[in-house]
Amino acid sequence: MTREGSAQDYFRRVYEDVYPIAVRIAYRITSDIEVAEELCHEAFIKFLDKMDAIPDAQQAKYWIIRVVKNLSLNNQKRLGREAVANRRAYFEPSAVSSETGETSYLKREAQSHVQQALATLPDNLRVVLVMKEYGDLSYKEIGSVLGISETNVKVRAHRAREKLAEYLDGGDVYVP
């Protein structure tokens, strides 16, 4: 699909095509719908600035999904760093969390079982599985987004499922 019509028409077409996929992927990586919305907003602002250099709608789709994926992973890393810093600042020298068992339980329950399971995967496997299961992208498309071969995508998707199967085997997780 190539660019036709005005720049605004092109942007609108790409937005309607890509936003539903991008926001699902962001949500499945961040587990937070509001954060996912913010990250998609940021990605489309970046695309608005870059649009003239990406006149092909298919390439635009890959580009935006790549940006959303990177923003989502960076957001998670930032949260992780902040959590570590907070623990150090407030709970040193004790490394034991001050959360009670009940608080911890309630927090875990608030996050879905699926999101918890996905969070156990390494980034490179999680991203592939999320794009496949929730972005409904083909192996070829995932390869284009990540800059890896289809074979590599296939292997990563399988490894991700294997790891999730082990996780599900080992825990008290309801599997339909």
């Binding site: 720049a7 605004q8 942007f11 937005y15 936003y19 539903p20 926001v23 699902r24 949500y27 719908i33 996912a36 919305e37 998609c40 907003h41 489309f44 602002i45 608005l48 600035d49 649009m51 003239d52 250099a53 879905s112 079982h113 699926v114 399971a117 996905l118 599985l129 496949k132 299961e133 929730y134 083909s138 192996y139 074979t151 590599n152 296939k154 292997v155 998707a157 399988h158 490894r159 499922r161 294997e162 999730l164 199967a165 599900l168 997780v173 599997v175 339909p176």
Partner: protein, 182 residues
């Protein structure tokens, strides 16, 4: 690809089968095997269980988020948001830069090789009357050429050489007296 993956290419194919990513013939072959191989069926069921688990919780609705984001993007006046054409980044392929550089070097080389002296002013006119002054400018590097021209110029009376007023100008060697008629 790790050793583990090389040992289990069939499992990887099972995953691709689940994703409907195999060719028609591969899919047909694996489907036939699945009918007959109970152990393969178990492995497939395991992967399928993971897929069903992942799909067990549907996505929340993103419709409102999509409309809200579009509204926010629309508020950024679309045309004003986009930078003017002269300030937009332009992607120039490396090969184009290399070709332009090669052309520049070639043209420069040709000019140096075949270009004539560029510092001489036009050929001076002969003085018509006694006392007329004719000015001739030349680059310091071409002083020999200047002297050669002066020697071929009859009825010269007085030659005044004006050195450039430049900080970068340097004297090299001692002044040389050039005999008349040289």
């Amino acid at each position: 690809m790790s050793l583990e993956d090389m040992r289990s290419p069939e499992d990887t194919r099972l995953s691709a089968y689940l994703d409907d990513e195999l060719s028609v013939s591969e899919s047909q072959r694996l489907g036939d095997r699945l009918q007959q191989d109970a152990e393969l069926q178990d492995r497939y069921a395991r992967l399928r269980g993971v897929q069903e688990f992942l799909r067990s919780e549907g996505d929340p609705s993103f419709q409102e988020a999509m409309e809200r984001t579009w509204h926010r993007l629309s508020l950024r006046n679309f045309e004003q948001q986009r930078p003017n054409w002269w300030s937009r980044p332009v992607a120039v392929p490396f090969s184009a830069v290399a070709a332009a550089f090669a052309i520049l070097v070639l043209v420069g080389g040709l000019l140096i090789r075949f270009g004539g002296p560029t510092y001489f002013s036009a050929e001076p006119q002969q003085a018509d009357r006694f006392g007329d002054t004719v000015e001739l400018s030349a680059h310091a590097r071409e002083s020999e050429e200047l002297l050669r021209r002066l020697s071929g110029w009859e009825s010269r009376d007085e030659v005044t050489i004006q050195l450039p007023e430049s900080r970068t100008f340097e004297f090299v060697g001692q002044p040389v007296i050039v005999p008349a008629g040289h």
